[in-house]
Symmetry: C2
Subunit: 382 residues, 2 copies
Amino acid sequence: MRTTPTGRRRPFPRLEAGEAPRRLPDLETPAALVDLDRLAQNLDRMAAYTTLHGLALRPHVKTHKSPRIAAEQLRLGAAGLTCATPREAEVMSDVSDDILVAYPPVGAPRAARLMALPDSTRLAVALDSAVAVEHLTAAAREAQREVHVLIEVDVGMRRVGVSRPSEVIELARLVRDRDPLRYAGIAFYPGHIRQHVSEQDGAVARLTSDLAALIAALDRAECTPWTVSGGSTPAAWRMHEVARVNEVRPGTYVYNDRTTAEIGACAWTDCAFTVLATVVSTAVPGQAVIDAGSKALGREPLRGAEGEGYGALIERPDVVVTRMSEEHGILDLSRSVWKPEVGEQVRIVPNHVCVVVHLNDVMYGVRGEIVETTWEVAGRGR
Amino acid sequence: MRTTPTGRRRPFPRLEAGEAPRRLPDLETPAALVDLDRLAQNLDRMAAYTTLHGLALRPHVKTHKSPRIAAEQLRLGAAGLTCATPREAEVMSDVSDDILVAYPPVGAPRAARLMALPDSTRLAVALDSAVAVEHLTAAAREAQREVHVLIEVDVGMRRVGVSRPSEVIELARLVRDRDPLRYAGIAFYPGHIRQHVSEQDGAVARLTSDLAALIAALDRAECTPWTVSGGSTPAAWRMHEVARVNEVRPGTYVYNDRTTAEIGACAWTDCAFTVLATVVSTAVPGQAVIDAGSKALGREPLRGAEGEGYGALIERPDVVVTRMSEEHGILDLSRSVWKPEVGEQVRIVPNHVCVVVHLNDVMYGVRGEIVETTWEVAGRGR
């Protein structure tokens, strides 16, 4: 096991002595790169924040989908993991015995697959409907499996979640009435809080007062939530200000992306993930074409911040991928003095890293120009 | 081998006698469905059109990435296949010995991988730069492999391709000078012709006159192109009107999608591909949440036609996926009297099928409610 000078284990070791290093030009593009030092710093920073404030960290694995990263999150103190899909839960049960599926367990095939997780796994799910409770009850009884349930609450994102305290109480009581389900508390996802971190005061205050009112109602109804689970990377850093929240579920912080940087939830130099691409054409004036298009970069807009395009070069953030086809990305050179040549490699920070990881089977762990390790995106697929 | 009443082989057979059928409710969602009868009709229609007009059909496999579909295209008369990535070319070399890689072979790893295709494969590539010619020459000499070269011409899409006849002639001569490369002709991609099929007259006329001028110049320079390769699904149906075009490379026509239907390049009932999803939440009024988000549907806009959202229900085209997170799609119910229930299944026609297929490992071939067969998206990945 490798250690740093201070004795701390390096999670992603350097090459063994005598091992032939691969360098970036040896890689076929497009390829998904992870800067190992930035990854380690990002993991450390969130672990330190949550430890400092006594928040349980239950990172969402949707961003990396890799047991190897999850194992490192757990080693740094994470209380458990959050998953969205059955595939993620299956893969992560190899490294964690405490998994929250933050997704309604609707549909018999999905519920059955969750029940087939190892018996040693403490399984919790988040849901927002009586139908989901009944589906889950049927599956849990069939499997004779205890399942902890968080009631999903809408705090303003308008996606899933009930919003009235009476609805939360009704579902909590229904869960309590459905052995072997166990009412465990509430979950919310403040994904609508996407403005610049310095401008979140209003949203955080509103969230605090809404949650206080809800929890007071739950207390009065003798449905006090043991777990109050929130999170998302942009909002996570403010969760210690929100009374009664005791768990956060950020995902993106491991890699970060252009959106996270633009809204001030990380620095540009905290972006650990890039897509390595090659300039394949400069035939059309004013632009360069790279071999990373929508099948490599996704087509996610920048959110909560100004800015066009689908990603920017990590070394030249003024050069943006402004158009894409499936396998072509167009770099707009109109604001740059840079004149790339056909064959040159570039590295793009995508707008939204989670969807880009989902497009890849393998991550290449790099330090500088050296590819030190690779790992599988084992939780990809269905 | 199964045959129809008229003796024609059914490419995707019905279940064997005694085989237990799976029905749609047995599938875990999201799942990628292909209507087998519509697929067969779509394959037949393009094969008939190209046969009628004496055009070589070299379908682009980027849409399906499946040797099983490619084999059926070849059985119906396709002259060969078009690929974009080395992975696609490798997988397709199992079913075809005539492959065009319509992508600049830039970068040593990419070129080396193409050279490693079976010796029996007639390999052609399209390129638009002297640098690409030199990369390819080095790789072809090292591998002692003949490679046919099409010069990529920009006919208005402003993506890749040279636009001046003098540049085409220069590259053609360079290729002729670089044994074992073989100058074979020109390729263009009219992907910018995306307006409604009935409104393409102007674009088709412009393309015809531009190509005529270019080919006249090539003839004068004694660089007469043997192959003049065009295509794309929306434009393919007009290619018989464009003089000297002798090959088309449509991809999307096998499955079609919401864009193809909206621009009139197919009927809504020709859409063979849908994403099967489950309603997982109706907690927020006015909408239903399905378990297909951007990781299942992509985030492609509708192009060349009016219309919001990322896909529409095949049975209720007025119900559109208006917002998405990674694993959540929001169906806007404001214009529909339909009141879906949690647990109900729906089928979505995505805006752009090619990027959606790329998100899947497996296709489910269906007739009605019955899952008759499955196949692997073997060309996915890198």
